[in-house]
């Protein structure tokens, strides 16, 4: 089993790293979708293989949402937006990758220092989760396209979720579903907002939404 878990976790980390380096938006969406699927699998293996209904349902829900629904939604928005499909980062890809590796190192170091009261399902879990979180934040901060920020948010969410799945047992179903529902609605609303942004401005560059401010350079 641990082989599975570890490999899934490694894939998770890799996808995040890949996201930092990929230049085309469709590509990014696909990566995030793949990450969603990985997350679903993780929920399955996280329960030590005890194939009960609960993890199955959860996994399907996760895969359905994060692996299929979101990517489809975002891809659609992107298709509607007749803008060039470049990521146009504020920080160049190479630098992003560099920072990514740094963040990976940081999260490894952190996970060494975190005293865990319970043993996680895999030693890799905490660093990968942290790294995914950091990567998500970094994408939000460093990318120009609004859509990219949604992706970043998703990655951040995934990271947090990874942490939860791997470390916290016995979160009630209702809460888990509620969380999922929230994330779904959040992304849905963001998608709608993106749609409107695109219609209003003919661009989806978040860094050009600077009308509202108290400071004029």
């Amino acid at each position: 089993m641990d082989l599975w878990t570890d490999s899934i976790l490694v894939f998770l980390a890799l996808t995040s790293l890949l996201l930092l380096g990929s230049s085309r938006l469709f590509h990014c969406i696909r990566i995030v979708a793949f990450q969603g699927i990985l997350l679903g699998l993780l929920t399955l293996v996280a329960h030590r293989g005890a194939l009960s209904l609960r993890p199955l349902a959860l996994a399907t829900a996760i895969i359905g949402l994060k692996g299929v629904a979101f990517p489809w939604l975002l891809a659609r928005v992107l298709r509607d937006a007749e803008v060039q499909r470049e990521v146009e980062p504020l920080v160049s890809y190479t630098v992003s990758m560099l920072i990514g590796t740094l963040m990976l190192a940081l999260s490894l170091w952190l996970s060494q220092r975190l005293p865990l009261p319970t043993t996680p399902i895999a030693s890799l879990l905490v660093p990968v989760a942290l790294f995914t979180i950091l990567a998500g934040l970094f994408v939000i901060i460093s990318r120009r396209k609004a859509l990219n920020q949604v992706l970043g948010y998703l990655v951040l969410e995934n990271g947090i979720y990874t942490f939860g799945v791997g470390l916290v047992q016995g979160t009630p179903m209702v809460v888990e579903l509620g969380v999922l529902l929230d994330v779904f609605v959040a992304v849905f609303v963001m998608g709608i907002a993106l749609f409107h942004i695109n219609r209003e401005f003919d661009h989806v560059d978040a860094d050009r939404l600077v009308v509202l401010r108290d400071w004029t350079p």
Partner: protein
Amino acid sequence: MLLVLLAVALLLASACAALLTQKSYRWSTGCAVGGAVAASLLGMFPSVRILLGAPVESLRLPWSVPYGAFFVAVDALSAFFLVPIFVLSALAAVYGAEYLQTYRDRRALGPAWFFFNLLVASMVLVVIARNAVLFLVAWEVMALASFFLVTFEDEKESVRDAGWVYLVATHLGTAFLLALFILLGSTAGSPDFDQFSVAPSQAGLLFVLALVGFGAKAGFMPLHVWLPEAHPAAPSHVSALMSGVMIKTGIYGLVRTFTFLAQSAAPPPAWWGWLLCAVGLTSGIFGVLFALAQHDLKRLLAYHSVENIGIIALGLGVGLLGLSTGMPTLAALGFAGGLLHVLNHALFKGLLFLGAGAVAHAAGTREIDHLGGLLKRMPWTGLTFLIGAVAISGLPPLNGFVSELLIYLGAFHGLTAAASATAVSVLCVIGGLALIGGLAAACFTKAFGIVFLGEPRSDHAAQAHEPGLAMRLPMLLLAAGCVLIGLLAPLAVHALAPVLANVTGLSPQVVRTHVAPAGRIFPFVTAGGIGLLGVVAALAGVRSWLLSGRPVATNVTWDCGYTQPTPRMQYTASSFAQPLTDLFGILLQTRRRLVPPTGLFPRGASLATDTADVCAERLYAPVFLGIGRGLAALRWLQHGRVHLYVLYIALTLVVLLIWKLG
């Protein structure tokens, strides 16, 4: 007690009534003025009774706000401040009824009357409150009400600015008071005045807090900047009320704080007295100097309020010196002078502001240099204004002299009896008082002489007319008050004894023994005053006897051979004050714009001077500007880029994690 509370209730009720009936000018004015007068009459009885030695009355009701209790009491000190409040409020209200008539078609006067009665009610509450929260609430309501009265003519830019300056000044002062009262209540754990106790280590801090917090309201230099702005801006009956009694609530608070501090820090350290004397001298001298340089009548009066507050502070300072050096006589005389001057200033400054209002009302301008010759057109206003002018210059036989004499006596007593350290400070008081007196006389000869005497300097002045009875009567009564207190000085001093007992913490008997010298002196003063009037009458008789059957010709003023004398050849206020303003030019920083006559046949030439407040311009304006700049420099934080906003979040999180857990 109940009567006073009844008066407050009546004031509030009439205020609301005035607001509700504001559709009809007659009704709202009627309600407000009726309420104010009735309330004053109600309130006078208990106040006077307690001043004459009736026992202290207090009332304590639960009040469901944090630390709040409806705890009120009237002791001699409160009563002493209640009397001028009630008197002046009633008279100002009557005056205002006619004064505001000119505005009736321009605006609804309901709010004006509402805030007027609210102001009076809050002043009464301030003076009788015995609970910190109650006091502060009343204090702020007083500030707000007066602010809205100041900005009555808010269509004028200058009025709005004045109101703003006033609001800021009073609010910042209140911040100090918050700290003061909380600290006073913290050791005892109760915000009731009778529970207050002070840790000796804190006494000094508390004294300074009180000096700043109450000084901002009273108008001590350099916290006075709002006075010369607000008083001219307000309608005259309001200026009279504010300058006459409202700023005195600052003095009340200060004295009341002394009584708290006296319990713990007895005797008070000498530097309190020194500091207060220094403040008094600064306020007195600078106040009168700036007054000299003004040519707006009400602005001039406002600066005189600063001066008189200075004199009061001198009195209190001498009193504190007396307490700290263990010289009860010094203390008694100093406090007596300061407190009596509170009452006197209420009378004559109220009178003068009402007079100024009548002048502005009649001539349509407050610009002294455009007035003149009004005594012929407004004999009553002129006479009362003259009485006020003599009184405020501290000249016998009027009331101003009595209070200043008390301070002098205290100072001289300290001089002859005290060690040289104290003697030096009281010498400063003597010299300062003398200088202030001389300058004040100069300033009011100018004010009265230029405004009421000579020939009118403008058509406005020429068409001026005496106001109606409603405006004349209050002035007459106040003038009568000035004369009476001047002549009945011994009684006044006697009536002060319980108040002084309150302040100095000595028993009335002891106080009486210590003001005894003054008690022995004042009969002479009274005799002198009456004698003076007698001699004047006699001389007048002699003169008319001498002139009986002799030619009494009238002619133009001898004009040194000019064939076409015009009123514009008269001395103006500016030229009258010019020697003194030049002498102290370094302090006044007067700006003058001179267009000199040029050519062989010069056409136009003009000279305009204005003396802005040095403190406002050199001290506060730069500070406020600097703060504004500093804050503006930080605005880039809100630059509008959502990425960086998220970065803020991430950084905050990281910093916290490292700082708290790392």
